[in-house]
Protein backbone atom coordinates (compact mmCIF):
# COMPACT_ATOMS: atom_id res chain seq x y z
CA UNK A 1 0.00 0.00 0.00
CA UNK A 2 1.48 3.31 -1.08
CA UNK A 3 -0.22 5.77 1.21
CA UNK A 4 0.24 9.52 0.85
CA UNK A 5 2.45 9.19 -2.22
CA UNK A 6 1.48 10.96 -5.41
CA UNK A 7 -0.55 8.53 -7.50
CA UNK A 8 1.17 9.53 -10.74
CA UNK A 9 4.49 8.07 -9.61
CA UNK A 10 2.95 4.61 -9.17
CA UNK A 11 1.05 4.85 -12.42
CA UNK A 12 4.30 5.50 -14.23
CA UNK A 13 5.60 2.17 -12.90
CA UNK A 14 2.71 0.29 -14.43
CA UNK A 15 2.20 1.28 -18.02
CA UNK A 16 -0.72 -1.11 -18.52
CA UNK A 17 -2.80 0.43 -15.75
CA UNK A 18 -5.22 3.22 -16.60
CA UNK A 19 -3.70 6.63 -16.00
CA UNK A 20 -4.96 8.57 -12.99
CA UNK A 21 -4.08 12.21 -12.53
CA UNK A 22 -2.02 13.03 -9.45
CA UNK A 23 -3.83 13.96 -6.24
CA UNK A 24 -2.56 16.52 -3.78
CA UNK A 25 -0.82 14.96 -0.78
CA UNK A 26 -2.87 14.55 2.37
CA UNK A 27 -1.72 16.76 5.22
CA UNK A 28 -0.81 15.04 8.47
CA UNK A 29 -3.94 16.26 10.26
CA UNK A 30 -6.18 15.30 7.37
CA UNK A 31 -4.60 11.84 7.13
CA UNK A 32 -5.00 11.25 10.88
CA UNK A 33 -8.64 12.36 10.74
CA UNK A 34 -9.30 9.98 7.87
CA UNK A 35 -7.64 7.07 9.65
CA UNK A 36 -9.70 7.88 12.74
CA UNK A 37 -12.87 7.86 10.63
CA UNK A 38 -11.94 4.43 9.25
CA UNK A 39 -11.31 3.17 12.77
CA UNK A 40 -14.69 4.47 13.94
CA UNK A 41 -16.48 2.89 10.98
CA UNK A 42 -14.88 -0.52 11.55
CA UNK A 43 -15.50 -0.33 15.30
CA UNK A 44 -19.15 0.54 14.64
CA UNK A 45 -19.59 -2.52 12.41
CA UNK A 46 -17.83 -4.84 14.86
CA UNK A 47 -19.79 -3.29 17.75
CA UNK A 48 -23.12 -3.84 16.00
CA UNK A 49 -22.21 -7.46 15.41
CA UNK A 50 -21.14 -7.87 19.05
CA UNK A 51 -24.37 -6.20 20.19
CA UNK A 52 -26.48 -8.71 18.24
CA UNK A 53 -24.32 -11.50 19.66
CA UNK A 54 -25.17 -10.41 23.20
CA UNK A 55 -21.64 -9.36 24.20
CA UNK A 56 -22.98 -6.23 25.93
CA UNK A 57 -25.67 -8.09 27.92
CA UNK A 58 -23.72 -10.89 29.64
CA UNK A 59 -26.41 -11.38 32.33
CA UNK A 60 -29.26 -12.01 29.89
CA UNK A 61 -30.77 -15.51 30.08
CA UNK A 62 -29.64 -17.29 26.90
CA UNK A 63 -30.20 -20.87 25.69
CA UNK A 64 -26.62 -21.66 26.76
CA UNK A 65 -27.07 -20.23 30.27
CA UNK A 66 -30.39 -22.04 30.62
CA UNK A 67 -28.75 -25.33 29.65
CA UNK A 68 -25.86 -24.59 32.02
CA UNK A 69 -28.54 -24.42 34.74
CA UNK A 70 -29.59 -28.02 34.03
CA UNK A 71 -25.94 -29.06 34.20
CA UNK A 72 -25.38 -27.21 37.49
CA UNK A 73 -28.36 -28.94 39.10
CA UNK A 74 -27.92 -32.45 37.63
CA UNK A 75 -24.23 -32.58 36.76
CA UNK A 76 -23.01 -33.17 33.21
CA UNK A 77 -23.95 -36.58 31.81
CA UNK A 78 -22.32 -36.76 28.37
CA UNK A 79 -24.52 -37.94 25.54
CA UNK A 80 -27.80 -37.60 27.47
CA UNK A 81 -30.57 -35.05 27.15
CA UNK A 82 -30.09 -32.24 29.68
CA UNK A 83 -33.71 -32.74 30.75
CA UNK A 84 -35.82 -35.87 30.35
CA UNK A 85 -32.53 -37.78 30.29
CA UNK A 86 -34.17 -41.18 30.87
CA UNK A 87 -36.35 -42.60 28.16
CA UNK A 88 -37.19 -45.30 25.65
CA UNK A 89 -37.91 -45.07 21.95
CA UNK A 90 -41.29 -46.13 20.57
CA UNK A 91 -42.87 -46.23 17.15
CA UNK A 92 -46.21 -46.87 15.53
CA UNK A 93 -48.68 -44.85 13.52
CA UNK A 94 -51.40 -42.24 13.71
CA UNK A 95 -54.70 -43.03 12.06
CA UNK A 96 -56.60 -39.86 11.25
CA UNK A 97 -60.40 -40.02 11.08
CA UNK A 98 -60.65 -36.80 9.04
CA UNK A 99 -62.42 -34.80 11.76
CA UNK A 100 -59.46 -32.43 11.96
CA UNK A 101 -59.62 -31.36 8.29
CA UNK A 102 -62.09 -28.54 9.00
CA UNK A 103 -59.74 -27.23 11.73
CA UNK A 104 -56.35 -27.46 10.03
CA UNK A 105 -55.07 -28.03 6.53
CA UNK A 106 -52.16 -30.10 7.91
CA UNK A 107 -51.89 -33.32 5.89
CA UNK A 108 -51.72 -35.32 9.12
CA UNK A 109 -55.45 -34.68 9.64
CA UNK A 110 -56.59 -36.03 6.26
CA UNK A 111 -58.06 -39.51 6.66
CA UNK A 112 -55.29 -42.09 6.62
CA UNK A 113 -52.16 -43.38 8.35
CA UNK A 114 -48.91 -41.59 9.07
CA UNK A 115 -45.87 -43.27 10.70
CA UNK A 116 -44.92 -42.02 14.15
CA UNK A 117 -41.61 -42.14 16.01
CA UNK A 118 -41.68 -41.29 19.71
CA UNK A 119 -39.97 -41.36 23.05
CA UNK A 120 -41.39 -41.88 26.53
CA UNK A 121 -39.30 -40.17 29.19
CA UNK A 122 -39.14 -39.06 32.78
CA UNK A 123 -38.37 -35.46 33.68
CA UNK A 124 -35.03 -34.53 35.19
CA UNK A 125 -31.48 -34.51 33.97
CA UNK A 126 -30.23 -37.59 35.87
CA UNK A 127 -29.89 -40.55 33.48
CA UNK A 128 -29.47 -43.07 36.33
CA UNK A 129 -32.25 -41.91 38.67
CA UNK A 130 -34.94 -44.33 39.87
CA UNK A 131 -38.54 -44.20 38.60
CA UNK A 132 -40.97 -42.47 40.94
CA UNK A 133 -44.73 -42.11 40.42
CA UNK A 134 -44.77 -38.32 40.63
CA UNK A 135 -41.84 -37.63 38.29
CA UNK A 136 -43.10 -35.79 35.22
CA UNK A 137 -43.78 -38.21 32.34
CA UNK A 138 -43.00 -37.03 28.85
CA UNK A 139 -43.98 -38.24 25.42
CA UNK A 140 -42.18 -36.80 22.41
CA UNK A 141 -43.73 -37.60 19.03
CA UNK A 142 -42.73 -37.14 15.42
CA UNK A 143 -45.40 -37.56 12.73
CA UNK A 144 -43.91 -38.10 9.25
CA UNK A 145 -46.37 -36.58 6.79
CA UNK A 146 -46.74 -38.01 3.25
CA UNK A 147 -45.13 -34.96 1.59
CA UNK A 148 -42.04 -35.19 3.81
CA UNK A 149 -43.16 -32.55 6.31
CA UNK A 150 -42.62 -33.33 9.98
CA UNK A 151 -44.74 -32.54 13.01
CA UNK A 152 -43.07 -32.86 16.38
CA UNK A 153 -44.69 -32.38 19.75
CA UNK A 154 -43.19 -32.81 23.21
CA UNK A 155 -45.99 -33.53 25.65
CA UNK A 156 -46.15 -34.15 29.41
CA UNK A 157 -48.66 -35.69 31.78
CA UNK A 158 -49.24 -32.37 33.59
CA UNK A 159 -52.58 -30.62 32.92
CA UNK A 160 -50.83 -27.23 33.11
CA UNK A 161 -47.20 -26.16 33.15
CA UNK A 162 -45.85 -24.73 36.43
CA UNK A 163 -44.06 -21.82 34.76
CA UNK A 164 -45.29 -18.99 32.58
CA UNK A 165 -41.88 -17.95 31.23
CA UNK A 166 -38.47 -19.43 30.61
CA UNK A 167 -37.09 -17.01 33.18
CA UNK A 168 -39.42 -18.40 35.88
CA UNK A 169 -38.46 -21.98 34.97
CA UNK A 170 -34.79 -21.05 35.29
CA UNK A 171 -35.32 -19.25 38.60
CA UNK A 172 -37.08 -22.29 40.04
CA UNK A 173 -34.37 -24.62 38.77
CA UNK A 174 -31.65 -22.56 40.46
CA UNK A 175 -33.75 -22.29 43.66
CA UNK A 176 -34.09 -26.10 43.77
CA UNK A 177 -30.36 -26.65 43.33
CA UNK A 178 -28.94 -28.61 46.28
CA UNK A 179 -26.83 -26.55 48.65
CA UNK A 180 -23.18 -27.64 48.51
CA UNK A 181 -22.88 -27.87 52.33
CA UNK A 182 -26.15 -29.68 53.16
CA UNK A 183 -26.72 -31.56 49.90
CA UNK A 184 -30.34 -30.37 49.96
CA UNK A 185 -32.07 -27.38 48.41
CA UNK A 186 -32.51 -24.44 50.76
CA UNK A 187 -36.30 -24.26 51.41
CA UNK A 188 -36.04 -20.47 51.81
CA UNK A 189 -35.01 -20.16 48.16
CA UNK A 190 -38.09 -22.07 47.00
CA UNK A 191 -40.39 -20.07 49.31
CA UNK A 192 -38.96 -16.85 47.91
CA UNK A 193 -39.50 -18.14 44.36
CA UNK A 194 -43.12 -19.11 45.06
CA UNK A 195 -43.78 -15.73 46.70
CA UNK A 196 -42.67 -14.06 43.49
CA UNK A 197 -44.65 -16.45 41.28
CA UNK A 198 -48.25 -16.92 42.46
CA UNK A 199 -49.07 -18.42 39.02
CA UNK A 200 -46.75 -21.33 39.87
CA UNK A 201 -48.53 -21.88 43.21
CA UNK A 202 -51.88 -21.99 41.39
CA UNK A 203 -50.59 -24.32 38.68
CA UNK A 204 -49.13 -26.69 41.31
CA UNK A 205 -52.57 -26.90 42.93
CA UNK A 206 -54.14 -27.85 39.60
CA UNK A 207 -51.40 -30.43 39.03
CA UNK A 208 -51.83 -31.94 42.54
CA UNK A 209 -55.59 -32.09 41.98
CA UNK A 210 -55.16 -34.51 39.09
CA UNK A 211 -54.71 -38.15 40.12
CA UNK A 212 -51.51 -39.76 38.85
CA UNK A 213 -52.00 -42.94 36.83
CA UNK A 214 -50.10 -46.19 37.40
CA UNK A 215 -47.96 -46.08 34.29
CA UNK A 216 -46.99 -44.51 30.99
CA UNK A 217 -49.61 -46.55 29.13
CA UNK A 218 -52.61 -45.04 30.95
CA UNK A 219 -51.26 -41.49 31.26
CA UNK A 220 -52.91 -38.52 29.59
CA UNK A 221 -50.40 -36.32 27.77
CA UNK A 222 -50.93 -32.58 27.20
CA UNK A 223 -49.53 -30.21 24.59
CA UNK A 224 -48.64 -27.79 27.41
CA UNK A 225 -48.70 -24.72 25.21
CA UNK A 226 -51.43 -23.32 23.01
CA UNK A 227 -50.91 -23.42 19.25
CA UNK A 228 -52.96 -22.23 16.30
CA UNK A 229 -54.59 -24.29 13.59
CA UNK A 230 -55.14 -22.80 10.14
CA UNK A 231 -57.59 -24.51 7.80
CA UNK A 232 -57.64 -24.51 4.00
CA UNK A 233 -59.94 -21.47 3.99
CA UNK A 234 -57.37 -19.55 6.03
CA UNK A 235 -59.40 -19.51 9.27
CA UNK A 236 -57.21 -19.54 12.37
CA UNK A 237 -58.24 -20.96 15.74
CA UNK A 238 -56.39 -21.30 19.05
CA UNK A 239 -55.95 -24.93 20.09
CA UNK A 240 -54.38 -27.22 22.65
CA UNK A 241 -54.20 -30.97 22.23
CA UNK A 242 -54.35 -33.94 24.56
CA UNK A 243 -53.62 -37.64 24.12
CA UNK A 244 -56.17 -39.59 26.19
CA UNK A 245 -55.28 -43.25 26.80
CA UNK A 246 -57.55 -46.09 25.64
CA UNK A 247 -55.89 -48.20 28.35
CA UNK A 248 -58.06 -48.00 31.50
CA UNK A 249 -57.04 -45.62 34.27
CA UNK A 250 -55.55 -47.11 37.39
CA UNK A 251 -54.23 -44.94 40.20
CA UNK A 252 -50.54 -45.01 40.99
CA UNK A 253 -49.70 -47.21 43.95
CA UNK A 254 -48.56 -45.56 47.18
CA UNK A 255 -44.94 -44.45 46.94
CA UNK A 256 -44.14 -46.48 50.09
CA UNK A 257 -44.40 -49.75 48.16
CA UNK A 258 -40.88 -50.87 47.22
CA UNK A 259 -40.50 -50.74 43.48
CA UNK A 260 -37.92 -51.82 40.99
CA UNK A 261 -35.68 -48.95 39.90
CA UNK A 262 -37.06 -49.04 36.36
CA UNK A 263 -40.60 -50.15 37.27
CA UNK A 264 -42.37 -47.56 35.09
CA UNK A 265 -40.31 -48.37 32.01
CA UNK A 266 -40.44 -52.13 32.67
CA UNK A 267 -44.25 -52.03 32.90
CA UNK A 268 -44.41 -50.05 29.65
CA UNK A 269 -42.17 -52.59 27.91
CA UNK A 270 -44.29 -55.52 29.17
CA UNK A 271 -47.55 -53.88 28.11
CA UNK A 272 -46.43 -52.83 24.66
CA UNK A 273 -45.16 -56.39 24.04
CA UNK A 274 -48.57 -57.74 25.07
CA UNK A 275 -50.63 -55.44 22.87
CA UNK A 276 -50.29 -52.13 21.01
CA UNK A 277 -50.99 -49.08 23.18
CA UNK A 278 -53.50 -46.54 21.90
CA UNK A 279 -54.49 -42.96 22.59
CA UNK A 280 -57.15 -40.63 21.19
CA UNK A 281 -55.73 -37.36 19.90
CA UNK A 282 -58.16 -34.73 21.14
CA UNK A 283 -57.98 -31.15 19.89
CA UNK A 284 -59.38 -28.56 22.32
CA UNK A 285 -60.60 -25.39 20.64
CA UNK A 286 -60.09 -22.13 22.52
CA UNK A 287 -62.67 -19.36 22.59
CA UNK A 288 -61.90 -15.65 22.22
CA UNK A 289 -60.47 -14.52 25.54
CA UNK A 290 -58.95 -17.89 26.45
CA UNK A 291 -55.29 -17.20 27.24
CA UNK A 292 -52.91 -18.56 24.61
CA UNK A 293 -49.80 -17.01 26.15
CA UNK A 294 -49.99 -18.62 29.58
CA UNK A 295 -49.24 -22.33 29.95
CA UNK A 296 -49.92 -22.17 33.72
CA UNK A 297 -53.66 -21.72 33.18
CA UNK A 298 -56.05 -24.36 31.81
CA UNK A 299 -58.85 -23.24 29.54
CA UNK A 300 -62.34 -23.31 31.08
CA UNK A 301 -64.14 -26.65 31.02
CA UNK A 302 -66.70 -27.19 28.28
CA UNK A 303 -64.54 -26.06 25.37
CA UNK A 304 -65.25 -27.90 22.13
CA UNK A 305 -63.17 -31.08 21.89
CA UNK A 306 -62.62 -32.86 18.60
CA UNK A 307 -61.30 -36.42 18.44
CA UNK A 308 -59.11 -36.27 15.31
CA UNK A 309 -57.72 -39.81 15.33
CA UNK A 310 -55.92 -42.59 17.14
CA UNK A 311 -52.25 -42.94 18.00
CA UNK A 312 -51.04 -46.54 18.12
CA UNK A 313 -47.61 -47.36 19.57
CA UNK A 314 -46.65 -50.98 18.96
CA UNK A 315 -42.86 -51.08 19.02
CA UNK A 316 -40.40 -50.19 21.76
CA UNK A 317 -36.63 -49.82 21.67
CA UNK A 318 -33.85 -48.87 24.03
CA UNK A 319 -32.61 -45.27 23.77
CA UNK A 320 -29.29 -46.88 22.77
CA UNK A 321 -30.68 -48.16 19.47
CA UNK A 322 -33.77 -46.03 18.79
CA UNK A 323 -33.65 -43.28 16.16
CA UNK A 324 -35.62 -41.19 18.68
CA UNK A 325 -32.50 -40.67 20.80
CA UNK A 326 -31.01 -38.43 18.12
CA UNK A 327 -34.24 -36.55 17.42
CA UNK A 328 -34.85 -33.18 19.02
CA UNK A 329 -38.58 -33.17 19.84
CA UNK A 330 -38.66 -29.43 19.23
CA UNK A 331 -42.28 -28.30 19.71
CA UNK A 332 -41.89 -25.78 16.88
CA UNK A 333 -41.24 -28.36 14.16
CA UNK A 334 -44.70 -27.85 12.68
CA UNK A 335 -46.28 -28.65 9.31
CA UNK A 336 -48.33 -26.24 7.22
CA UNK A 337 -51.68 -25.85 9.00
CA UNK A 338 -50.25 -25.72 12.54
CA UNK A 339 -48.43 -22.67 13.82
CA UNK A 340 -47.25 -21.27 17.11
CA UNK A 341 -49.31 -19.12 19.48
CA UNK A 342 -48.09 -16.04 21.33
CA UNK A 343 -46.93 -18.23 24.24
CA UNK A 344 -43.38 -17.02 25.06
CA UNK A 345 -42.44 -20.51 26.29
CA UNK A 346 -42.58 -21.93 22.76
CA UNK A 347 -39.65 -20.06 21.26
CA UNK A 348 -37.70 -20.55 24.51
CA UNK A 349 -38.37 -24.31 24.49
CA UNK A 350 -37.22 -24.50 20.87
CA UNK A 351 -34.03 -22.56 21.68
CA UNK A 352 -33.10 -24.55 24.81
CA UNK A 353 -33.94 -27.95 23.26
CA UNK A 354 -31.66 -27.02 20.37
CA UNK A 355 -28.85 -26.07 22.74
CA UNK A 356 -29.25 -29.33 24.69
CA UNK A 357 -29.34 -31.32 21.43
CA UNK A 358 -26.19 -29.65 20.09
CA UNK A 359 -24.28 -30.39 23.30
CA UNK A 360 -25.22 -34.06 23.56
CA UNK A 361 -24.87 -34.68 19.81
CA UNK A 362 -21.14 -34.01 20.04
CA UNK A 363 -20.56 -36.14 23.13
CA UNK A 364 -19.68 -39.85 23.32
CA UNK A 365 -22.76 -41.97 24.02
CA UNK A 366 -23.16 -43.86 27.30
CA UNK A 367 -25.47 -46.88 27.64
CA UNK A 368 -28.96 -46.07 28.87
CA UNK A 369 -30.31 -47.69 32.06
CA UNK A 370 -33.08 -49.23 29.93
CA UNK A 371 -30.84 -51.53 27.91
CA UNK A 372 -31.72 -53.27 24.62
CA UNK A 373 -31.73 -56.58 26.54
CA UNK A 374 -34.26 -55.21 29.03
CA UNK A 375 -36.48 -54.00 26.20
CA UNK A 376 -36.37 -57.42 24.47
CA UNK A 377 -37.74 -59.14 27.60
CA UNK A 378 -41.26 -60.34 26.94
CA UNK A 379 -40.66 -60.90 23.25
Amino acid sequence: MKILRPIAVITANDPKAPAEPALPRLGMASALARFALIGVALAAVAGTFAYFGGWFTPNELTPARFTDGFEQVNGVHPGFRRNHARGVGVSGFFESNGNGVRLSEALVFRPGHVPVLGRFSLGGGQPYAADTPDTVRGLGLQFSLPDGELWRTAMVNLPVFPFRTAEAFYEQMIASKPDTSTGKPDPANMQAFLARHPETVQAMQVIKGQPVSSGFDNSTFHSLNAFRFINAAGATIPVRWVLTPMQPFEAASAPSAPQDKNYLFDALIARIHRQPLRWHLIVIIGQPGDPTNDATVAWPAGREQVDVGTLTLDRIESDDTSAARDINFDPLVLPLGITLSDDPLLSARSAVYSQSFTRRAGEPKQPSTITPAEVRKGD
Binding site: I3, E20, F66, A351
Partner: protein, 187 residues
Protein backbone atom coordinates in the same frame (compact mmCIF):
# COMPACT_ATOMS: atom_id res chain seq x y z
CA UNK B 1 -12.51 -3.91 -24.62
CA UNK B 2 -12.39 -5.09 -21.03
CA UNK B 3 -9.25 -3.07 -20.38
CA UNK B 4 -11.23 0.13 -21.07
CA UNK B 5 -13.98 -0.78 -18.60
CA UNK B 6 -13.69 0.82 -15.16
CA UNK B 7 -16.83 -0.59 -13.57
CA UNK B 8 -18.23 -4.02 -12.93
CA UNK B 9 -21.22 -4.73 -15.20
CA UNK B 10 -24.54 -3.53 -13.78
CA UNK B 11 -25.73 -7.10 -13.09
CA UNK B 12 -22.54 -7.90 -11.15
CA UNK B 13 -23.00 -4.77 -9.06
CA UNK B 14 -26.64 -5.61 -8.38
CA UNK B 15 -25.62 -9.09 -7.19
CA UNK B 16 -22.79 -7.65 -5.07
CA UNK B 17 -24.93 -5.16 -3.16
CA UNK B 18 -27.94 -7.45 -2.82
CA UNK B 19 -25.82 -10.25 -1.44
CA UNK B 20 -23.82 -7.89 0.77
CA UNK B 21 -27.05 -6.81 2.47
CA UNK B 22 -28.28 -10.41 2.73
CA UNK B 23 -25.01 -11.74 4.12
CA UNK B 24 -24.64 -9.00 6.72
CA UNK B 25 -28.25 -9.57 7.80
CA UNK B 26 -27.54 -13.30 7.89
CA UNK B 27 -24.42 -12.95 10.05
CA UNK B 28 -26.26 -10.68 12.51
CA UNK B 29 -29.30 -12.99 12.67
CA UNK B 30 -27.03 -15.98 13.17
CA UNK B 31 -25.14 -14.49 16.08
CA UNK B 32 -28.37 -13.09 17.61
CA UNK B 33 -30.53 -16.22 17.35
CA UNK B 34 -28.14 -18.46 19.25
CA UNK B 35 -28.33 -16.18 22.30
CA UNK B 36 -32.06 -15.49 22.12
CA UNK B 37 -34.93 -17.26 23.86
CA UNK B 38 -37.84 -14.99 22.92
CA UNK B 39 -36.85 -14.32 19.30
CA UNK B 40 -35.15 -17.62 18.54
CA UNK B 41 -37.97 -19.06 16.45
CA UNK B 42 -38.57 -15.94 14.36
CA UNK B 43 -34.86 -15.55 13.66
CA UNK B 44 -34.36 -19.23 12.77
CA UNK B 45 -37.38 -19.05 10.46
CA UNK B 46 -35.68 -16.21 8.55
CA UNK B 47 -32.16 -17.67 8.77
CA UNK B 48 -32.92 -20.95 6.97
CA UNK B 49 -34.68 -19.68 3.80
CA UNK B 50 -32.36 -16.65 3.62
CA UNK B 51 -29.36 -18.99 3.65
CA UNK B 52 -30.82 -21.00 0.80
CA UNK B 53 -31.52 -17.77 -1.13
CA UNK B 54 -27.84 -16.86 -0.70
CA UNK B 55 -26.82 -20.31 -1.97
CA UNK B 56 -28.96 -19.87 -5.10
CA UNK B 57 -27.64 -16.35 -5.70
CA UNK B 58 -23.99 -17.35 -5.31
CA UNK B 59 -24.41 -19.99 -8.03
CA UNK B 60 -25.76 -17.29 -10.35
CA UNK B 61 -23.03 -14.93 -9.21
CA UNK B 62 -20.26 -17.44 -9.82
CA UNK B 63 -21.45 -18.11 -13.37
CA UNK B 64 -21.73 -14.36 -13.90
CA UNK B 65 -18.18 -13.91 -12.56
CA UNK B 66 -16.89 -16.36 -15.18
CA UNK B 67 -18.85 -14.71 -18.00
CA UNK B 68 -18.19 -11.13 -16.90
CA UNK B 69 -14.65 -10.74 -15.54
CA UNK B 70 -14.08 -7.70 -13.32
CA UNK B 71 -12.45 -4.47 -14.50
CA UNK B 72 -8.68 -4.21 -13.91
CA UNK B 73 -7.36 -3.31 -10.46
CA UNK B 74 -6.46 0.36 -10.07
CA UNK B 75 -2.81 1.23 -10.62
CA UNK B 76 -2.49 2.16 -6.95
CA UNK B 77 -2.59 -1.48 -5.89
CA UNK B 78 0.75 -3.19 -5.40
CA UNK B 79 1.36 -6.78 -6.47
CA UNK B 80 0.90 -7.96 -2.88
CA UNK B 81 -2.35 -6.07 -2.55
CA UNK B 82 -3.70 -7.56 -5.76
CA UNK B 83 -2.79 -10.98 -4.51
CA UNK B 84 -4.51 -10.27 -1.19
CA UNK B 85 -7.61 -8.94 -2.96
CA UNK B 86 -7.80 -12.03 -5.18
CA UNK B 87 -7.31 -14.37 -2.22
CA UNK B 88 -10.02 -12.53 -0.32
CA UNK B 89 -12.39 -12.78 -3.28
CA UNK B 90 -11.75 -16.53 -3.61
CA UNK B 91 -12.28 -17.02 0.15
CA UNK B 92 -15.53 -15.05 0.18
CA UNK B 93 -16.89 -16.93 -2.83
CA UNK B 94 -15.92 -20.15 -1.09
CA UNK B 95 -17.70 -19.10 2.12
CA UNK B 96 -20.82 -18.06 0.21
CA UNK B 97 -21.00 -21.60 -1.14
CA UNK B 98 -19.81 -23.51 1.91
CA UNK B 99 -21.69 -21.77 4.73
CA UNK B 100 -25.20 -22.48 3.39
CA UNK B 101 -24.17 -26.00 2.37
CA UNK B 102 -22.76 -26.73 5.83
CA UNK B 103 -25.99 -25.32 7.30
CA UNK B 104 -28.14 -27.50 5.07
CA UNK B 105 -25.91 -30.50 5.76
CA UNK B 106 -25.92 -30.09 9.53
CA UNK B 107 -29.70 -29.70 9.67
CA UNK B 108 -29.98 -32.80 7.49
CA UNK B 109 -27.70 -34.81 9.81
CA UNK B 110 -29.86 -33.74 12.79
CA UNK B 111 -33.15 -34.30 10.88
CA UNK B 112 -34.30 -30.73 11.42
CA UNK B 113 -36.68 -29.83 8.60
CA UNK B 114 -35.56 -26.93 6.40
CA UNK B 115 -38.85 -25.22 5.62
CA UNK B 116 -38.62 -22.57 2.92
CA UNK B 117 -42.24 -21.47 2.84
CA UNK B 118 -45.49 -23.13 3.88
CA UNK B 119 -45.08 -26.85 3.22
CA UNK B 120 -42.13 -26.33 0.84
CA UNK B 121 -39.03 -27.85 2.37
CA UNK B 122 -35.65 -29.13 1.29
CA UNK B 123 -34.65 -32.81 1.17
CA UNK B 124 -32.04 -34.10 3.62
CA UNK B 125 -28.61 -34.29 1.99
CA UNK B 126 -26.79 -36.26 4.71
CA UNK B 127 -27.61 -39.35 6.80
CA UNK B 128 -29.12 -38.98 10.29
CA UNK B 129 -25.96 -38.79 12.42
CA UNK B 130 -25.74 -36.76 15.64
CA UNK B 131 -21.93 -36.61 15.71
CA UNK B 132 -21.80 -35.45 12.09
CA UNK B 133 -24.32 -32.75 13.04
CA UNK B 134 -22.14 -31.67 16.00
CA UNK B 135 -19.02 -31.35 13.81
CA UNK B 136 -20.83 -29.42 11.06
CA UNK B 137 -22.58 -27.21 13.63
CA UNK B 138 -19.18 -26.21 15.03
CA UNK B 139 -17.83 -25.64 11.52
CA UNK B 140 -20.85 -23.45 10.70
CA UNK B 141 -20.01 -21.12 13.61
CA UNK B 142 -16.28 -20.97 12.85
CA UNK B 143 -16.87 -20.29 9.14
CA UNK B 144 -19.43 -17.60 9.97
CA UNK B 145 -16.94 -15.79 12.22
CA UNK B 146 -14.33 -16.14 9.47
CA UNK B 147 -16.79 -14.57 7.03
CA UNK B 148 -17.36 -11.67 9.38
CA UNK B 149 -13.59 -11.13 9.66
CA UNK B 150 -13.32 -11.26 5.85
CA UNK B 151 -16.05 -8.64 5.64
CA UNK B 152 -14.24 -6.37 8.13
CA UNK B 153 -11.01 -6.71 6.11
CA UNK B 154 -12.84 -6.02 2.83
CA UNK B 155 -14.67 -3.01 4.27
CA UNK B 156 -11.45 -1.67 5.85
CA UNK B 157 -9.51 -2.02 2.59
CA UNK B 158 -12.20 -0.15 0.67
CA UNK B 159 -12.25 2.62 3.28
CA UNK B 160 -8.45 3.02 3.10
CA UNK B 161 -8.50 3.12 -0.70
CA UNK B 162 -11.36 5.60 -0.71
CA UNK B 163 -10.25 7.95 2.08
CA UNK B 164 -6.44 7.66 2.11
CA UNK B 165 -5.23 6.44 -1.29
CA UNK B 166 -8.18 8.15 -3.00
CA UNK B 167 -7.93 6.02 -6.12
CA UNK B 168 -11.69 5.86 -6.64
CA UNK B 169 -11.76 2.08 -6.22
CA UNK B 170 -15.32 2.25 -4.91
CA UNK B 171 -16.47 3.48 -8.33
CA UNK B 172 -15.76 0.01 -9.71
CA UNK B 173 -18.63 -1.31 -7.63
CA UNK B 174 -20.76 1.85 -7.28
CA UNK B 175 -24.46 1.07 -7.52
CA UNK B 176 -24.85 3.92 -9.98
CA UNK B 177 -23.27 4.08 -13.46
CA UNK B 178 -20.05 6.03 -13.81
CA UNK B 179 -19.54 7.66 -17.21
CA UNK B 180 -16.16 6.63 -18.72
CA UNK B 181 -14.79 10.18 -18.68
CA UNK B 182 -15.91 10.62 -15.09
CA UNK B 183 -14.22 7.40 -14.08
CA UNK B 184 -11.01 8.60 -15.66
CA UNK B 185 -11.14 12.04 -14.06
CA UNK B 186 -10.19 13.03 -10.53
CA UNK B 187 -12.59 12.40 -7.69
Amino acid sequence: MTTQRRQFPAFSRLLHWTMAAMILTMLCIGVAMVVSLADYYVLVSIHRPLGIAILILVVIRFVNRLVNPPPPFPATMSRAERLAATASEVTMYGLMFVLPLVGWGMLSAARYPIVLYGSVHLPFILPHDAMLYAVLRKAHTILAYLFFLMFIAHFGAILIHTLIVRDGILKRMAPWNIRPQEAASTE
